[in-house]
């Protein structure tokens, strides 16, 4: 399995999803080798072996990467920003430095480097039946590992798992290089897994992937972990609280949350809004709140970890995820697990999995306001959402997701044709 991050060394939902899914698969007897660019420290789990791609760097591979006569050369020189006149050896050292510390490098270089490492790992791995790659960074890796397997005479399928696309993250302003990698990888894959029907449709419409090639496996939550229960904070006794939690980037719609706060508090000044998270829109949101007269009505907290996350959900009377484009949105399930009703945008995958989630278009502030006020002030509705959420979560676990995923593996393996025999003289 080829990944980008794994908790606790993760920056977002991708790592969380990979951990949950692998735990579920491992319970079902699937033996997993999980590759990340670099392992930064000791990992607090042992259901699978985690491999550090950086450990497989060989000098000749990097050299060949740097000697390729294509546009990547320019990328390296340009992106590393050290001018055009450095020796191959210098470039190599800089590149290792960047890759090892996950510093930004041109997408093609990152993906190609990762692919080389994946090939080296595949070379050294005795036997594997499925290559499962998570998001764009690893797609070239999936292709490379498949090539290695084929050379060894095994037709091993490469499954591309889409947790998010560049179009989700950046809308129309996405990085064309990443979109190109996504398109190449998804078309090359033997099968594609999307985290929602929302994403499946996006892959079909925007990337031209046939629907028949895409299975949907919704994300879940760990069934064995119940959140720690916190005492009711004094703040909650005085105010209704609405929570945003996530990266403060365009994709997550934090600016719509500020607009919502303005609309709601204009009607009911006693509601408090809290935004938890960091990101490139953080300062903008803080300044905009002050400008809109929301000082005292909108509170902020930087990125939270561990049990503090549950504490924040429990502090809230309502969780709002106004994402502009959200392939899934595990945070919504986490909020439900903490007994906090949820309002998400219609542009979210998680909207498909439960009828006990309120759904509104992210841009429709008026409608969102109405939903927020009824969720806050209609105790019956609030209680029903909370209970319904708990009920729905019974089937929204990683165990369920893993069962589905295993079925996808089996389906794909069944449909794989044996490799054609190569003539001995070729």
């Amino acid at each position: 399995m080829l990944g980008w991050e794994i908790p606790p060394f993760n920056s977002g939902g991708l790592g969380t999803a990979c951990l949950g899914l692998t735990e579920g698969l491992s319970d079902q007897g699937v033996d997993i080798r999980f590759v990340v660019p670099k392992v930064f420290g000791k990992l607090p789990f042992n259901h699978m072996k985690v491999l550090s791609a950086a450990d497989y760097s060989s000098a000749s591979q990097l050299k060949s990467l740097l000697e390729r006569e294509d546009i990547q050369q320019e990328f390296i020189t340009h992106q590393l920003a050290y001018g055009g006149h450095i020796s191959v050896n210098e470039k190599k050292e800089l590149l290792i430095e960047h890759l090892n510390h996950q510093l930004p490098v041109a997408p093609h270089i990152q993906a190609t480097w990762y692919a080389q490492q994946a090939a080296a790992i595949a070379e050294q791995t005795e036997h594997f039946e499925v290559i499962h790659a998570h998001d764009w960074f690893t797609y070239y890796g999936g292709m490379a590992a498949r090539d290695v397997a084929r050379r060894k005479g095994h037709n091993v399928p490469f499954i591309a798992h889409v947790h998010a696309t560049e179009i989700d993250r950046s809308g129309e302003h996405g990085d064309p290089a990443i979109i190109a990698i996504e398109r190449t990888g998804l078309h090359a894959a033997d099968h594609v897994v999307a985290v929602s029907h929302y994403t499946k449709e996006l892959l079909h419409r925007r990337y031209g992937i046939p629907r028949s090639k895409i299975s949907v496996v919704h994300n879940g939550i760990p069934s064995h972990k119940q959140p720690q229960v916190f005492d009711i904070q004094e703040l909650k006794r005085h105010h209704k609280i609405v929570l945003f939690m996530g990266r403060m980037t365009m994709q997550k719609g934090p600016d719509y949350f500020v607009k919502l706060a303005k609309a709601v508090t204009d009607e009911d000044p006693n509601v408090r809004f809290i935004m938890v998270g960091s990101g490139d829109m953080e300062k903008k949101c803080i300044e905009e709140s002050a400008k809109q007269g929301l000082t005292g009505k909108m509170l902020f907290s930087s990125f939270l970890r561990g049990s503090s996350v549950d504490r924040a959900y429990q502090l809230a009377d309502l969780f709002v995820m106004p994402s502009v484009s959200e392939p899934f949105g595990i945070v919504a399930l986490e909020a439900m697990q903490n007994g906090t009703p949820v309002l998400v945008s219609n542009q979210s995958g998680v909207a498909e999995v439960s009828n006990n989630i309120m759904k509104v278009d992210f841009w429709d502030i008026e409608a969102m306001k109405g939903s927020v006020l009824s969720a806050l002030y209609d105790p019956n509705f609030h209680a029903a959402m909370k209970q319904g959420g708990y009920d729905d979560l019974q089937t929204l676990t990683w165990d369920h997701a893993a069962t589905k995923m295993k079925a996808v593996y089996e389906h794909v393996l069944r449909s794989m044709k044996p490799l054609e025999l190569q003539p001995a003289y070729a």
Partner: protein, 426 residues
């Protein structure tokens, strides 16, 4: 016979701690005791201890001749008493020589003059009492926070019986006039006004170690020549600056201490020059004119205006919110709460929220306890939300009569209670 008039500002705020959302309603501890103690201790060893020793050396070496003045904010005095009592004692030793004047300001180094006249007066009286308590003499000279001054502020100050007031010699106010004379406020009834000679003051405070400055390095001879050039064209050269200039802003290795040690004799090389305290200057020289300053000025940043503390929505909303609590705080009759609230009025909190990005912004960053202006805004919002909840829970008591400072253990005999003045400005 012109005088050189030194006034040094000594101030340390109570910095707010990183107060997380989960503390709202739960923790009444708003200030970072650890950081405040550390900073106090650090600045004491870099600046206060060595500089006080130097000043005492000079005052004793030139009895009756070398004179200086200080304004030490009440919150700084409190921190000295708690964290570095030896620093407080060394100031007391300076006071005992009779050659050092101690000036009054607002106890909390606040912007109350701009927001709440009642608070302004109470904080002045509290500081006046405190200075008398520690240094034995009731001050008759006043300087407002950051030398913020306007006709209206002068009026309020004169009402309280002050004989002399200090402010910045702002070019746009003075026009062709020189700061090197004694002036009167526009509606003055005898109170004298001393204006900072910002050119000569800033030569020491800001440019002393600036290697790009054409006059670097600044020698005592060179500086004395500039001072002597005033002869015949002025009565007083007012050198007003932060005391932390010595050893903290200008490090010891810049030679700032040697500069100061040699300065008195260099000044006296011209026989008609002497040193005088602000109240001496005010009695020695007749006022030459009244100055009209309808709009508030200050000594900060390029603009010499209020834009360091006020003007962006984060600053304006926060400070307005702080002052909104006045009635409730005073009705609570809770002296500790009153003290906490007033510590939140300290101008530094709003200075940290400044987002001006030109060269002044760098100075703000240097002096900030936080990573960004947004951090201090977010922290203050959390704290004020907590304060709001505490006030809701605090039963109303008899209206509070403000009693002049009582200090831990060593209680001052309370003479009379000063009743709360009615708000006249808002």
């Amino acid at each position: 016979m012109p005088s050189v008039c030194f006034y040094f500002q000594v101030h340390q705020p109570y910095r707010m701690r990183h107060y997380p959302i989960f503390d709202i309603g739960e923790s009444p501890n708003y200030f970072d005791d650890k950081a405040n103690r550390e900073i106090c201790e650090k600045v004491a060893s870099k600046c206060y201890r060595p500089t006080n020793a130097l000043m005492l050396e000079l005052v004793k070496r030139y009895p009756g001749a070398f004179k200086i003045s200080y304004s030490i904010s009440g919150v700084a005095l409190e921190q000295f008493a708690e964290y570095t009592p030896d620093v407080l004692e060394s100031f007391q030793a300076l006071a005992a020589t009779g050659q050092v004047e101690f000036i009054t300001e607002t106890y909390y180094h606040s912007l109350a003059a701009l927001f709440n006249a009642g608070e302004f007066r109470e904080q002045i009286l509290k500081h006046q009492e405190t200075v008398k308590h520690y240094f034995g003499k009731k001050p008759t000279t006043f300087r407002n926070t950051e030398l913020i001054y306007s006709n209206g502020i002068a009026d309020m100050v004169e009402d309280l019986g002050f004989k002399t007031m200090l402010t910045e010699g702002v070019d746009r106010v003075l026009g062709w006039r020189s700061p090197n004379f004694v002036y009167e406020p526009w509606n003055g009834r005898g109170m004298k006004l001393l204006l900072k000679n910002y050119k000569l003051s800033d030569d020491i405070a800001f440019r002393f170690s600036q290697r790009s400055w054409k006059d670097w390095p600044l020698t005592t001879e060179k500086f004395a020549d500039w001072v002597h050039a005033v002869d015949g064209g002025g009565d007083t050269i007012n050198l007003f600056m932060d005391y932390e200039t010595f050893g903290e802003h200008q490090w010891a290795d810049t030679g700032i201490f040697e500069f100061m040690r040699a300065l008195p004799e260099a000044i006296w090389r011209h026989p008609s020059f002497n040193f005088a305290t602000p109240s001496e200057v005010a009695t020695m020289y007749p006022p030459v004119a009244k100055v009209d300053i309808p709009e508030a000025v200050s000594w900060a940043d390029e603009g010499r205006d209020l834009s360091a503390w006020l003007g962006n929505p984060m600053q304006d909303a926060s400070i307005a919110w702080v002052y909104k609590f006045e009635r409730q705080i005073k009705d609570s009759g809770d002296a500790h709460l009153l003290h906490q609230w007033r510590k939140l009025q300290t101008s530094d909190h709003f200075y940290y929220m400044c987002t001006k990005y030109w060269s002044d912004g760098d100075v703000h960053k240097y002096f900030s306890a936080y990573d960004s202006p947004h951090d201090s805004y977010v922290i203050m919002s959390n704290i004020l939300t907590d304060l709001e909840i505490r006030l809701k829970k605090t039963p109303k008591k008899v209206p509070l009569f403000v009693v002049p400072t009582e200090f831990k253990k060593e209680k001052t005999p309370v003479k009379k209670a000063v009743p709360v003045k009615k708000k006249v400005l808002s």
